[in-house]
């Protein structure tokens, strides 16, 4: 029992009471948003006798900021911390700040994971920094009642067949618009832009070979941008910035009919729409190929005073029990193949979304997902590149200006 041994040593060496009380192992787990870990943490505590203090931050950027500060300061970070896809590339560059989970036997778990998810948790020299938690395959959330009003099909199968490609999505939008329902077709074209760039797989803003900024020459970016312009020109956008107060209010009031929905978005929709929205939303296949959007990893900072126990917790949470539980509690789509293919996931229907078989919809795409290359500056560049798109759909600037500003913003952010 190496774990008990190490705990005892720490107790004798008089380690600070922060991680240790009366010789018991106390671990701090830091996540953000909804990871769906409540039940599985209790299970872990019962099995090991450790105590887990789960600290949840509201939004990912706040958490990322706090974590970076703690890593830089050399203390204050949790024993196990969540790294979002937007964040992991930067964190991998700080590999020495995290333990190599291979040292704790996590390497044996490789076969359980989606290949690309596993790969992205490693540094170039093979240090295993993060164990995959969830992935975000894409679907479209839609209001079937508004579709009915507009004379479009309401059944999720038929709706999915309505738009095999994004061009068909646009046509469906025109039909919807012409039916004069008072609602817009899509909430935020910036989200469509994001979805399309991610579906393309491969490079978006940075070249994989040398991290050079390629935003101006990458047809993937230009095509996605042009499509978002088309949506705006056709008057299909509600012009909402996702996650703002206006967006939340619009979900409640039902002023738009569709939005791209990564798996984790369902929880956001449910929270925002509340009880009144129950049963009005449904989920259909996304136009184009499957694409990944979001998802996290768990890592153990080097500063943890209990790395062995921490690694054990990370492995448990990223393992089959943890991932299944996260799916059941929060609908976070597993990156663990075994769980992804399990009946529990495949047979899941989500009552709130008109009994949509979300397990089948999301899991069927997950296996084929192509990872895209982010590069260290992706988050900042993406934010500054989508700002002009948001402004364009609000009518603040023309499409040409938006494109110029997109390039300018990207270059400035990557400076």
């Amino acid at each position: 029992m190496a774990l008990v041994g190490s705990a005892a040593v720490l107790a004798v060496s008089g380690c600070s009471g922060d991680t240790e009380t009366d010789g018991e192992v106390e671990l701090v787990l830091e996540t953000f948003g909804t990871f769906g870990y409540d039940a599985v943490i209790e299970e872990f505590e019962e099995e090991t006798g450790y105590t887990v203090d789960h600290r949840v931050y509201g939004e990912q950027p706040d958490f990322a900021e706090a974590l970076e500060q703690n890593i830089a300061a050399g203390s204050g970070a949790g024993d196990v911390v969540a790294l979002e896809e937007a964040h992991i590339v930067q964190m991998l560059e700080q590999g020495e700040a995290f333990v190599d989970l291979n040292d704790f036997g996590a390497g044996d778990m490789e076969d359980q994971f989606l290949d690309w998810k596993w790969e992205l948790g490693q540094t170039t020299d093979g240090q295993l920094v993060g164990l995959g938690t969830d992935v975000g395959s894409l679907a479209i959330c839609y209001r079937w009642d508004l579709f009915e009003e507009a004379g479009l099909p309401t059944d999720r199968e038929e709706v999915g067949e309505l738009w095999p490609e994004w061009e068909d999505y646009l046509s469906a939008g025109q039909e919807f618009r012409d039916a004069d329902t008072d609602a817009a077709f899509v909430a935020d074209v910036g989200e469509v832009y994001t979805a399309i760039t991610r579906q393309a797989g491969g490079e978006i803003y940075f070249a994989e070979a040398d991290d050079e900024l390629i935003v101006a020459d990458n047809p993937v970016v230009r095509d996605a941008f042009d499509f978002s312009v088309e949506l705006v020109d056709e008057d299909l956008s509600a012009g909402l910035d996702t996650f703002t107060d206006d967006w939340t209010a619009a979900i409640q009031a039902g002023t738009f009919a569709t939005m791209p929905c990564p798996a984790w978005m369902l929880g956001q929709v449910e929270d925002s729409a509340g009880e009144d929205g129950e049963g009005l939303w449904d989920v259909a296949d996304v136009p184009g190929d499957g694409g990944n959007w979001g998802g996290s990893w768990l890592a153990v900072p080097e500063q943890s005073e209990n790395p062995e126990a921490a690694a054990e917790l990370a492995m448990f949470l990223a393992g089959p029990e943890g991932q299944l539980n996260a799916w059941e509690e929060a609908n976070n789509l597993p990156s663990n193949l075994e769980v992804l293919e399990s009946d529990e996931v495949q047979d899941t229907v989500r009552e709130y979304f008109n009994d949509a078989p979300t397990g089948e919809i999301f899991a069927s795409v997950a296996a084929d997902l192509q990872p895209y290359y982010m590069g260290p500056g992706h988050v900042a560049v993406h934010e500054d590149a989508t700002n002009p798109i948001d402004e364009m759909q609000r009518g603040g600037i023309s499409a040409d200006d938006a494109w110029d500003q997109l390039i300018e913003g990207a270059e400035r952010a990557a400076r």
Binding site: P61, E68, A72, D245, D246, N387
Partner: protein, 296 residues
């Protein structure tokens, strides 16, 4: 005896020491260190990435984002502070008269000041919502098209000025009120006897007598406004201040660079420039107001 002498010599310094020690540790040192950082390429986790001399300051001079943020900050300052101080003067004058429930009104003016800025900014943020905000709904009833308060540049400045004024109006009113109460009553009485109207008394007695206090409030407002941060950050929900940086203030740009883009060196340079700007604006205020005083 010996200690008694020492007491006399050192005691005053000992009494003021706590302030200066804390000031040194939490103000002076960070300010000096920040200058050091501003001369380097610096990131949060990577730390010092090498000496770059004045490069961060040189970039700042050519940075359109900086000039944009400075313009926003100054514009919001003007839109907020000028009406605010005038209104505060009038309010203070009213509260200085014998009116019913005087105590209640005096306390009421300061209440917004003691509410949390964040809570206030969240509430105002919803009032200024584009699609479902109360203000747009009210405008709609009188036939005015909804305003996109976060996209229209001037509208965003006005929205922020309203928030600033809501918070600071009472504070300045009470300061003016205190100043007005030190004005001898017989000045007003003799003016009344000479037949001066209320308005004339206000302009000829009250305003000249509270002029030093006006200087004080202008300087305090300048310092506060140059650092305007919390309200626009909550209004924007990030450091960008609108999709086009329509209302990004200099303090927000500083955070945007240092925290989001991890350019600590450049962020530190912006912080130093804010500091210098505050010094310059305060000096201008002092000169301006003392010129007025000299003239009268």
């Amino acid at each position: 005896m010996f200690f008694g002498k020492l007491d006399g010599k050192f005691a005053p310094y000992l009494f003021i020491a706590p302030f200066f020690i804390i000031f040194g540790v939490f103000n002076l040192f960070p300010t000096a260190f920040m200058f050091h950082v501003s001369l380097h390429d610096w990131s949060m986790i990577g730390g010092n990435g090498g000496f770059v001399g004045w490069a961060n300051y040189a970039f700042l001079l050519t940075d359109t984002k900086f000039w944009n943020a400075l313009l926003n900050t100054l514009a919001i300052f003007v839109i907020a502070v000028v009406p605010q101080l005038l209104l505060a003067l009038l309010l203070a004058d009213v509260l200085n008269r014998r009116i019913r429930f005087q105590g209640f009104f005096r306390v009421a003016t300061i209440l917004p000041y003691v509410t949390s800025i964040a809570a206030m900014a969240i509430v105002f943020g919803q009032l200024f919502g584009r699609d479902f905000g109360l203000i747009n709904l009210a405008l709609d009833t009188i036939g005015i098209d909804p305003i996109d308060w976060r996209s229209n540049r001037f509208a965003s400045w006005v929205a922020l000025a309203v928030m600033v004024d809501w918070r600071w109006l009472g504070f300045n009113t009470l300061i003016y009120l205190a100043a007005m109460q030190t004005i001898p009553r017989d000045l007003y009485e003799s003016a009344s006897i000479d037949g001066a109207s209320r308005l004339r008394q206000f302009w000829q007695i009250t305003i000249p007598m509270v002029r030093p206090t006006v200087l004080f409030t202008v300087i305090i407002s300048t310092i506060g406004q140059m650092q305007l941060f919390t309200e626009p950050v909550i209004f924007s929900a990030d450091y960008s201040g609108g999709n086009q940086n329509q209302f990004q203030t200099v303090a927000m740009l500083m955070f945007d660079e240092a925290r989001r883009l991890d350019n600590f060196g450049y962020g530190a340079a912006i912080a130093w420039v804010i500091f210098l700007l505050i010094v310059v604006f305060s000096l201008i205020n002092v000169l301006f107001v003392s010129r007025i005083r000299g003239a009268s």
